[in-house]
């Protein structure tokens, strides 16, 4: 009796044959240690990547945001009739005869008047005062007068760009010490700028011309904008999309669904994969040789740029399209063929719609890649071209010389004036906004149209 009641409690637990499960043996410890080490490596790698990204983005943003702001000076300019239209008959041809140079005195006297009105004390001559303005100011004034000849004789309020040194001074890039050897600006002029700023007529403001405007010459960094080269990029992307998408998709469908498996198709396949890895400058020199030297298409034209970038983008599109066609389960093809669809019907009715999100994603990524490409444009003359006038009309958009966004950025980064450096960073911000937008669209499309089966 006692035995029975005691036995269950007192019975010693059977000793595990291979050690307790509660203790890790040496082998398990080693394996676990290796696993946690590997996890640490992974986390470290991601950490480094993220850190680099953060450094890069902060750098770009801090260096580039300045380009979106520009310093302006408000001036009331009297459009004197005796200077602009001596005959007084408002004949546009006569008005046009007055060169940009002829507008300088108007600006000088406007500043003089403004200084007197504001009660600013300065030793500078009106001409020296006028020099704080951008050289673009005279051109702006002239364009205004030609556009509105009726305004001659009146006093009109303008907001002029100041020159890049003054702008740099307002942004902290230029200091009194740094201009010791600078002939284009004096300490006295900076003092004058301080006075104008305190009076509230000289201030920093958002500058839409940087985004929509055209490039300017070396002398006028403050007037340079990325707008025209953005148009160039846009026209190129148009060419790339119109050519690379149909050619790429047709080629992939043929190779994936119709082509016999033989040596020839194998060779083509290997070559397409290799083409994707060919340096883009090679496509540039190919474009130079074929499109410009042989076919005599115009140099620096977005059409040629687009053709070159099409060559470069095709392999990307073909590879991604084929991958997404391959990802469609063969049972769908069987099902379509089984009910008596022809091969083409099976492909176009069933396979292609299922592969479409992948194809679109590949195309957008290919386009984004093409949008950021500079090297091939170097060889066909789109780099270094100063896109100072927007193209007029669609045909001109494709055929007249233009630049492209990355080419414009490269061009700015080459120029001597540090004010261009800021614009290069600003251009990169705009380019990145485009790329991020395109990639986001790709992700959204994929999410939206992805069908599960």
């Amino acid at each position: 009796m006692t035995d029975i009641s005691q036995t269950p409690a007192a019975a010693p637990a059977a000793k595990p044959k291979k050690g307790s499960l509660f203790e890790q043996d040496a082998r398990t410890k080693k394996r676990n240690a290796a696993e946690s080490r590997f996890k640490m490596y992974g986390i470290a790698a991601i950490g480094i990547g993220l850190l680099m990204l953060i450094v890069l983005v902060t750098n770009i943003v801090t260096a580039g945001t300045g380009a979106f702001q520009q310093t302006f000076l408000e001036l009331n300019v009297e459009l004197k009739e005796d200077k602009l239209d001596k005959k007084g008959n408002r004949n546009i041809e006569d008005i046009k005869k007055v060169s940009t140079f002829g507008y300088a005195p108007l600006i000088a006297s406007a500043i003089e008047t403004e200084v007197q009105e504001l009660g600013i004390q300065t030793d500078l001559s009106p001409k020296e005062m006028g020099k704080i303005l951008s050289k673009a100011a005279q051109a702006e004034l002239r364009n205004y007068v030609i556009a509105n000849p009726d305004e001659i004789g009146k006093t009109v309020s303008f907001r002029f760009l100041v020159n890049s040194r003054v702008d740099g001074y307002m942004k902290g890039r230029v200091t009194r010490e740094s201009i010791a050897n600078d002939k284009s600006i004096t300490v006295a002029q900076l003092d004058f700028v301080d006075q104008l700023r305190d009076a509230g007529v000289l201030y920093k403001a958002f500058n839409p011309d940087f985004i929509f405007g055209s490039d300017a010459s070396d002398q006028r960094p403050e007037a340079a904008g990325i707008g025209v080269s953005m148009l160039g990029s846009l026209f190129m992307m148009f060419v790339v999309l119109a050519l690379a998408l149909p050619i790429g998709v047709a080629a992939s469908i043929y190779l994936e669904e119709f082509a016999p498996q033989n040596r020839l198709t194998d060779i083509i396949e290997v070559n397409i994969s290799n083409l994707a890895a060919v340096p883009s400058i090679v496509f540039g020199i190919l474009g130079l040789a074929v499109f410009i030297n042989y076919m005599h298409l115009p140099t620096s034209a977005p059409l040629v740029g687009g053709l070159v970038l099409t060559l470069m983008t095709l392999p990307t599109i073909i590879i991604s399209t084929r991958a997404s066609l391959k990802a469609v389960p063969p049972s769908i093809r069987d099902a379509a063929l089984g009910v008596g669809a022809s091969k083409m019907q099976a492909v176009f009715h069933h396979v292609l719609p299922l592969a479409a999100p992948g194809i679109l994603t590949g195309t957008i990524i290919g386009l984004a890649q093409a949008l950021g490409e500079t090297a091939p444009l170097l060889l066909i003359g789109m780099v270094g071209f100063i896109a100072s006038n927007p193209p007029d009309g669609l045909v001109a958009g494709f055929l007249s010389p233009n630049s492209a966004m990355p080419a414009q950025i490269y061009e700015w980064s080459k120029r001597a004036d540090p004010a261009f450096y800021e614009r290069a960073w600003g251009g990169i911000i705009i380019l990145l906004i485009f790329l991020v937008t395109m990639n986001t669209i790709a992700v959204i499309l994929r999410r939206r149209f992805e069908r599960r089966w």
Binding site: P260, D334, A335, G338, V339, G340
Partner: protein, 265 residues
């Protein structure tokens, strides 16, 4: 005994739908089907049984030229459908497949609505002149697929959202929608649970009244349940072909006996 003879006579009186003479199939260098001769009768369920890799599916896919999609596959010999050689140069495989429908191992509805799944075949073959006719074909086919009652209220729902058994019956409905004369089924129940299998088997028995059905199956019980004729394949050879009852109770070839009793395969 009397019953047996009556059934046999009934089977014997049927017309030959498909006749295969000396069919050889090669996958590249591999000789996959060796000299197969078989006659498939109209309005009969013929089962192909045999161990994995014996060539029964390959042979089935020859019957509507689905093997054409495989580059390295070559077919020799004659396969006659109603006396016409389907491998003749003048035959368009697309037209053939409209006559010889197929249901696959894994249910493979199109990722479209139930309605569109069934309507696809009639649409591409121009079987319906207008929407009303198409609706009629879809309903009729879904009824023949024994799935109408389950889906009639949600024809716009995606076909892929149905259960496995429903999907397979939808695929059968899709196959019969084009009014085929022969229905090929490649292990139609292997991905289904027993209940769905029973439903599909019942359906196959009903389909027999209109079509000649050829079914490949791994399950000998299934072959015994649904078929009137059975062909046993082994290593690419057609070992034995005859009445299902006879194959299962009194096989002539020792290999057939070994397979049926579970010693090979």
């Amino acid at each position: 005994m009397n019953d047996m003879t009556r059934v046999e006579r009934a089977v014997d009186s049927k017309a030959i739908k498909i006749a295969a003479n000396n069919v050889q199939v090669y996958y590249g260098e591999t000789h996959a089907i060796k000299d197969v001769n078989v006659e498939i009768e109209d309005k009969t369920v013929t089962a192909f049984i045999g161990p994995s890799g014996c060539g029964k599916s390959t042979f089935l896919r020859c019957l509507n030229r689905m093997n054409d999609t495989i580059d390295i596959c070559r077919v020799q010999g004659d396969i006659l459908l109603d006396g016409e050689d389907i491998y003749d140069k003048r035959v368009d495989p697309v037209q053939l497949r409209a006559k010889v429908g197929m249901v696959f191992q894994k249910p493979n509805p199109f990722p479209k609505s139930i309605y569109d799944n069934v309507a696809y075949g009639p649409r591409i073959h121009g079987l319906a002149k207008n929407k009303a006719e198409l609706d009629e074909i879809v309903e009729k086919s879904l009824r023949r697929g024994a799935i109408w009652d389950e889906v009639k209220d949600r024809l716009d729902a995606p076909g892929t959202g149905l259960s496995g058994g429903q999907q397979q019956r939808l695929c059968i409905a899709r196959a019969v929608a084009t009014e085929p004369e022969v229905l090929l089924m490649d292990e139609p129940c292997s991905a289904l649970d027993p209940i769905a299998t029973a439903q599909v088997e019942e359906l196959i028995d009903e389909l027999r009244s209109r079509y000649s059905v050829v079914i490949v199956t791994h399950s000998m019980q299934q072959a015994a349940r649904v078929s009137q004729k059975t062909a046993f394949f082994h290593l690419g050879n057609l070992v034995e072909f005859g009445e299902t009852g006879q194959i299962f109770t009194n096989p002539e070839d020792p290999r057939t006996e070994s397979y049926i009793t579970g010693r090979i395969g």
